[in-house]
C-alpha cells in the first residue's frame, strides 16, 4: 500500500486521504447521488448524515467498491482510482464495516476476520496458525472483550459481533474505514464500546467515514459533518461550528440556511 504512504501526524495540515469529486449515480429514473464531492482526512472522523433515501448507502457502496458511479472521480492519496470491486477497494486500503456486518455466523472469529483473505501456506493450505495469531493480536489490540478467537460468531453478543467486524477492517490495514450505521442494532453499553473503538482508530491516524442516524453519537465523535439530501450535498461543516438543531434542519430541509 505504498500509494497510501502519505505523511502521518501533520495534524496542523491534515491531508485528504480519500477525495470524492462530483460523483453521480442513478438507478433507473432515481438520482441516488447528484454530483457529490467530499473528502476524508487522516486522523479525522467525518460523519455522513441524511434522511432515508438521501444517498448515504449509495455513497458507501461506491466507496467500498460494491457499486460503481456513473460519473465522477475518486482519488486515493491524490491519485485517481477505480473501485470496481469490493476486493479492489480492500486491496487499496479502504475497509468497510457494513451495516449487516457481513459475518458468517457458523464460522469462528478467526475465520471471519480473514474472510476472503485467508493466509496460505505452501501455496495451498490455509495457514490456520497465522490466522489465529493475527486474529488474537488485533482482538487484543482493540481490547475487544473476547476470550478466544475460536468462538463461533453466532454465539457472540451484538456488540462483540460489531467489534469483530471493526477488527476485520483494522486487520486488513485500512487507512480508510467506512462505518455504515455501526451502532444502530446495539444496546447503549455496546454502542459505547463501538464508539470507543472508532476513537481508537482515529487516534491511530485512520481516516474514518461514519454513516449514522444517531445525531448524538455523530456530535460526540465526528470532526466534520457532511449532510446529504435527495442525493445532493447540502453542507459540509465542522462539528465545533454547528449545532444539532442546525444539522437536523439541514437533513430534513426545513431551512436551507447553510445550503450551498
Amino acid at each position: 500500500m505504498s500509494d497510501l504512504a502519505v505523511e502521518v501526524g501533520g495534524s496542523s495540515s491534515p491531508s485528504p486521504v480519500l477525495e470524492v469529486e462530483e460523483v453521480s449515480k442513478t438507478y433507473g429514473h432515481v438520482v441516488a447521488l447528484d454530483s457529490v464531492s467530499m473528502s476524508l482526512t487522516e486522523g479525522e472522523v467525518t460523519a455522513l448524515v441524511g434522511d432515508n433515501g438521501a444517498g448515504k448507502s449509495t455513497l458507501v457502496s461506491i466507496l467500498s467498491g460494491v457499486n460503481q458511479p456513473d460519473s465522477g472521480v475518486i482519488r486515493l492519496a491524490g491519485a485517481p482510482v477505480r473501485l470496481d470491486s469490493a476486493r479492489r477497494a480492500q486491496s487499496l486500503g479502504i475497509a468497510t464495516v457494513f451495516q449487516n456486518l457481513a459475518l458468517v455466523n457458523r464460522r469462528d472469529v478467526a475465520a471471519n476476520l480473514h474472510l476472503g483473505r485467508e493466509p496460505k501456506r505452501y501455496g495451498v493450505i490455509v495457514d490456520r496458525r497465522r490466522m489465529l495469531h493475527e486474529a488474537a493480536e488485533v482482538i487484543a489490540r482493540l481490547e475487544v472483550g473476547l476470550p478466544t478467537v475460536r468462538a463461533m460468531v453466532g454465539d457472540l453478543s451484538g456488540g462483540q459481533r460489531q467489534a469483530v467486524a471493526v477488527a476485520r477492517a483494522v486487520l486488513h490495514g485500512g487507512r480508510v474505514v467506512l462505518f455504515d450505521e455501526p451502532t444502530a442494532a446495539l444496546g447503549i453499553r455496546e454502542g459505547r464500546r463501538v464508539l470507543d473503538l472508532i476513537r481508537a482508530l482515529r487516534a491511530q491516524g485512520q481516516a474514518i467515514l461514519l454513516v449514522s442516524h444517531n445525531i448524538v453519537s455523530v456530535f460526540e465523535l465526528a470532526d466534520r459533518i457532511v449532510v446529504l439530501r435527495h442525493g445532493r450535498l447540502v453542507a459540509t461543516v465542522r462539528t465545533s461550528e454547528t449545532t444539532q438543531d442546525e444539522i437536523v434542519s439541514l437533513i430534513v430541509g426545513v431551512q436551507a440556511a447553510r445550503a450551498s
Binding site: S85, V104, R106, R107, R117, K120, V124, E137, L146, P147
Partner: protein, 368 residues
C-alpha cells in the same frame, strides 16, 4: 511486556470446549456403531465377510458422490440429478468402449470429463439464470435419464468378452481383501475432507453457504465457488459411472435409479446443514454407512425388501427434523420451548463470555 503479550495470545487462541458439530459427529458415529452391532447380532449373515464387502461397495459409490454433494450442500445448493448423471455416465462409458473401441482408460477420462461438463451446466443454469438448483437439477434428472435411454436404445450394453485392460482391476479388484471401490472412496474422502477443511477454497465454500452476502462483500467469488461444487459432483458421478462399468463390464440405462435418494439421504443424516454453511465429508460417509447397512440389514432380517424404501424415507425425515429441531427453528422447536441447541449454545455462550480477559461483559454471567 513480550511475555504478557504471549499469554494474551495463547489465551485468545484457546479452544472452545463443546462444539455442536463435533458432538453431532460423535452422535451419528455412535448410531452407526449401534446399528452395526444390532445387525451383526440379529441379522443372519450380516457379519459375513462377503456381505460386509457388498455393503462396502454400496457405501463407496454413495460416499464418492456424497463428497461432491456435501460441498454443494455447504455452499447452499444441491443436485437431485446425480442418479441420472450416474446412469448417463455408465452408458457413455459403455458406448465408448463397446461401440467405438475406445480404450477403457481413455474412456474413463472422457466420462469423468463429461460428468464435469454436466456439473458445469447445472452450475451455470443455477447461478447465471438464477433458477433454484432444485428446479434446474430436477429438469436435468429427467433430461439426463432420457438421454441415457435414447443413447442406449433402452438396452444394456456389454463390453466385448475378449477385452482386457488394467482399468478393470483398478475398478473392481481387491487389495488385501479390500474392494477397489472402497479404496477409491477412501481416496476421494481424504481428498475431499482435506480440500474442505484446509484449503482456501474450502473456507470459501463454507462462507458462500453460511452467508452469501458476507462472502460477496469480502470479495469471495461465490458464483464461481458454487459452479466448482456442481462440477465436483458431476465429476464424482462420472467416476462412479466409469468404475461401475469397469466392474460389471456391462452397463444399463436403469443404473442409478434411486441413487439420488441414497446420496442426499447420506448427506442429511450426516448432519450437513439443510440450508448451507455447515457439515463435513466425514458425516456424509457415516450417513452413507448408516443407509447402506439399513438397506442390506433389513433384508437380511427377513423383512420384505419393499419396506426398505419406507425406512429410508422415515430416517431422512427424522434426521432433517432433528437438524431443524437442534437449531431451534420450526414450530415443533418453539412448541417444545427449549431446544437442544439452545441449551448447548447457552452453555457455550456462558463459557465464551465469562472470563473475558478485559473484564467486560461480566454482566452476562447473571443471565442463564
Amino acid at each position: 511486556m513480550a511475555a504478557s503479550e504471549a499469554t494474551v495470545d495463547r489465551a485468545l487462541t484457546r479452544r472452545v470446549p463443546t462444539q455442536n458439530a463435533i458432538a453431532r459427529q460423535l452422535g451419528i458415529t455412535g448410531v452407526a456403531l449401534g446399528l452395526f452391532a444390532f445387525f451383526s447380532i440379529f441379522a443372519v449373515h450380516f457379519f459375513a465377510a462377503g456381505n460386509i464387502l457388498d455393503v462396502g461397495r454400496l457405501v463407496a459409490f454413495t460416499t464418492i458422490v456424497g463428497v461432491g454433494m456435501t460441498f454443494l450442500f455447504i455452499a447452499g445448493e444441491f443436485d437431485i440429478s446425480v442418479g441420472s448423471q450416474y446412469a448417463l455416465a455408465t452408458i457413455f462409458m459403455g458406448l465408448l468402449v463397446a461401440e467405438h473401441g475406445v480404450g477403457p482408460w481413455t474412456a474413463a477420462v472422457l466420462v469423468v470429463s463429461a460428468g464435469t461438463v454436466i456439473g458445469l451446466c447445472n452450475g451455470l443454469l443455477t447461478t447465471f439464470l438464477g433458477i433454484p438448483s432444485f428446479i434446474v437439477t430436477l429438469g436435468m434428472f429427467s433430461l439426463l435419464k432420457g438421454a441415457a435411454l435414447v443413447l442406449s436404445g433402452a438396452f444394456p450394453i456389454t463390453f466385448p468378452v475378449e477385452l482386457e485392460s488394467s482399468f478393470f482391476s483398478v475398478a473392481s479388484g481387491t487389495v488385501l481383501g479390500i474392494p477397489a471401490q472402497v479404496i477409491w472412496m477412501v481416496v476421494i474422502l481424504v481428498l475431499g475432507g482435506f480440500v474442505l477443511r484446509y484449503t482456501r477454497f474450502g473456507y470459501h465454500v463454507y462462507a458462500t453457504g453460511g452467508n452469501v452476502q458476507a462472502a460477496l462483500a469480502n470479495g469471495i467469488p461465490t458464483t464461481r465457488i458454487k459452479i466448482y461444487c456442481f462440477m465436483m459432483t458431476g465429476a464424482a458421478c462420472g467416476l462412479i459411472g466409469a468404475l461401475q462399468a469397469g466392474w460389471l463390464k456391462t452397463v444399463s440405462p436403469t443404473t442409478g435409479s434411486g441413487f439420488e435418494l441414497q446420496v442426499i439421504g447420506a448427506v442429511i443424516i450426516g448432519g450437513v446443514a439443510l440450508f448451507g454453511g455447515e457439515g463435513s465429508v466425514y458425516g456424509t460417509f457415516i450417513g452413507a454407512v448408516i443407509l447402506g447397512m439399513l438397506v442390506n440389514g433389513i433384508v437380511l432380517l427377513g423383512v420384505d425388501g419393499n419396506y426398505t424404501q419406507i425406512f429410508i424415507g422415515l430416517i431422512i425425515i427424522i434426521a432433517a427434523a432433528l437438524d431443524v429441531l437442534i437449531r431451534g427453528e420450526g414450530r415443533l422447536a418453539s412448541l417444545l420451548g427449549v431446544s437442544a441447541d439452545r441449551v448447548l449454545t447457552r452453555r457455550r455462550a456462558r463459557h465464551v463470555r465469562v472470563g473475558s480477559p478485559h473484564g467486560v461483559d461480566k454482566e452476562v454471567q447473571q443471565d442463564h
